[in-house]
């Protein structure tokens, strides 16, 4: 079975500017994947190519086994898209717009009405159905845009900054909505809010200047192979002892703590009693250890490490 989304060596040029550079990734059916990147990194361009709005300069993209260029209509039947900033027809009423989009997506009669009613209920839009979309607040516009994407129960959902402009309660509602789709629908979601992605996505892709830095940030992270150490001794002595223990792959200074205490992050290949071995070695060398715990690197750290590392390489 082909992946839900398969991009191979995709590049997009806007005139002399390269917006996306040789990007390849695969997303399996039922996965919820986050796409992270600073402004202008090429996230929206990738989304526009996935949904058939833009044509890649080179490379191929398949959605649900259909090529986005050669079988554009089949792709557009399989995928639903929430563009950034929720563009809507301002002269239409909410109900009218949702019904228009339902028919555009091939729904008819009672099926169209049921789909519109269902989406309106899920996004709590029932009380604004008779208002013109042009008179709605930013949050309501965003919800209308998400509601139109749910019409017709699409197999693949592509959401570009779906929670921007929403209040905290609405953010939680959208997060719950996306999580409820896990397993049955494929969701690709872009966001600037890193904790948001961390809560929703099973995997994160990080994009910088049109280049995909990693397609597995959360998987790497959830390998759970980092220990946090707080100890009082010269850095060199601690580094020599710790890196000499079998299973330790590397070590960084996290921050200098109060007094003479320093904090370190130790990357390890997990094995039984590794933490005990480290502790025994340090205590045996007369080093006072105040903390040694397994810690989860947050996504923000992964993102910053990758983007800064890449920027350093570029420099």
């Amino acid at each position: 079975m082909s992946p839900a989304i398969l991009a191979q060596n995709v590049t997009k040029w806007y005139g002399p500017r390269r917006a996306v550079n040789d990007v390849s990734f695969a997303i399996e059916h039922g996965e919820i994947v986050g796409l992270l990147g600073p402004n202008g990194s090429g996230k929206s361009t990738i989304f526009r190519m996935l949904t058939g709005y833009l044509v890649p300069t080179s490379g191929t993209i398949e959605v649900d086994g259909h090529d986005v260029v050669a079988e554009s209509l089949a792709v557009r039947r399989a995928i639903s898209y929430v563009p950034e900033d929720a563009p809507l027809y301002d002269h239409m009423r909410v109900g009218e717009f949702l019904h228009f989009m339902a028919i555009m997506k091939g729904l008819r009669g009672t099926a169209a009405r049921a789909s519109v009613d269902g989406a309106a209920r899920r996004l709590d839009l029932t009380r604004v159905m008779t208002l013109q979309t042009g008179k709605l607040s930013r949050g309501f516009r965003q919800r209308v845009s998400i509601a139109q994407a749910l019409l017709g129960d699409p197999r693949v959902l592509v959401l570009d900054e779906p929670t921007s402009g929403l209040d905290p309660n609405q953010v939680i509602a959208v997060r719950d909505l996306v999580q409820s789709l896990a397993g049955s629908r494929t969701v690709l979601i872009a966001s600037h809010v890193l904790p948001e992605i961390e809560k929703i996505a099973s995997r994160v892709m990080i994009l910088l200047d049109g280049t995909l830095l990693t397609a597995d940030a959360l998987r790497e992270k959830t390998g759970g192979a980092t220990l946090r150490l707080s100890a009082a001794a010269p850095h060199d002595a601690i580094r020599r002892i710790v890196t000499g223990i079998a299973g330790v792959r590397g070590m960084d200074i996290d921050s200098d703590g109060a007094a003479d205490i320093a904090r370190y992050l130790i990357q390890v290949q997990p094995r039984p009693s590794l933490a005990a071995d480290i502790l025994a070695a340090l205590v045996g060398a007369g080093i006072a250890v105040s903390e040694l715990t397994e810690c989860q690197l947050d996504l923000e750290r992964v993102f910053l490490d990758l983007t800064r590392g890449s920027a350093r390489l570029a420099a």
Binding site: R48, T51, G52, Y53, L54, V55, S72, L73, R76, R77, I79, Y81, P83, D85, P87, L88, Y89, D90, H91, M92, F100, M101, I103, M104, K105, G106, R108, Q148
Partner: protein, 233 residues
């Protein structure tokens, strides 16, 4: 087909909920009413020939106002992104916009139908040239709308879209005046690009297949290019 129907309905609503359609109708009826009355009082002839020529010029000036927003506005407001990522073909989107704009052209022609009715009431006009004149205006209008739609597909700025189509219309209106100065066979080629040369026979009661073919070709070619402009992004 259902996608086309719902798109057409959307376009008709957008067109007739904007002030542009009513402004165009008002200006058109005011100028044509004045022109028809003046022509009738001066010539005392039950003929529509002069009126058709004035409608020809007025169509060139008003068509850009009707077509400028069709795709440029969608591009600027980014609703084109919503439209073009929905499972409807680019051809259906373009045809719906074309048909909606043509409905305003047809409405202007129907409203001007009161002039031949006045002529028939008070005199005995020859209806042959009147029918051919209306056929010519319909075909001419479709070529203008097609060209305006193409101009609107090329930019996100409505004013620029209107200026592009107006410039093309004005050049193709007067191009025969310069075409006669060119050596053969360039003169024939350039003169035959003229909108006026192909419209003139309709206004005086002659329907040539070459003229019908010219306006239909311009319409089909511009619609095809508009679809291509949307498809190759």
């Amino acid at each position: 087909m259902r996608g086309f129907a719902v798109l057409l309905l959307k376009e008709e609503r957008a067109l007739f909920s904007s002030p542009i359609a009513y402004a165009v109708m008002t200006v058109f009826l005011l100028i044509m009413g004045y022109s028809f009355t003046l022509t009738l009082f001066i010539s005392h002839q039950p003929s529509m020939v002069h009126v058709f020529f004035q409608m020809f010029v007025l169509f060139m000036l008003t068509a850009p106002l009707i077509t400028m927003r069709l795709l440029a506005e969608e591009r600027k407001l980014r609703t084109l992104e919503v439209l073009l990522t929905s499972p409807v073909s680019e051809a259906a989107i373009v045809l719906a916009k074309f048909t909606a704009s043509m409905s305003l052209i047809v409405m202007l022609l129907l409203l001007s139908g009161s002039y031949p009715m006045v002529l028939a009431y008070f005199g005995d006009p020859d209806f042959g040239p009147i029918y051919s004149g209306y056929l010519g205006l319909l075909l001419f209008g479709s070529a203008l709308v097609g060209t305006g739609l193409l101009a609107s597909a090329l930019t996100a700025n409505q004013v620029i879209a209107a200026l592009i189509s107006l410039s093309v219309f004005l050049i193709l209106w007067i191009i025969d005046n310069f075409g006669w100065l060119l050596p053969s066979p360039a003169d024939t080629l350039v003169v035959n690009l003229s909108l006026a040369v192909h419209f003139r026979p309709f206004a005086v009661g002659s329907v040539y297949l070459s003229d019908v073919g010219f306006f239909l070709s311009v319409t089909l070619m511009t619609l095809f290019l508009t679809v291509r402009a949307l498809a190759r992004r």
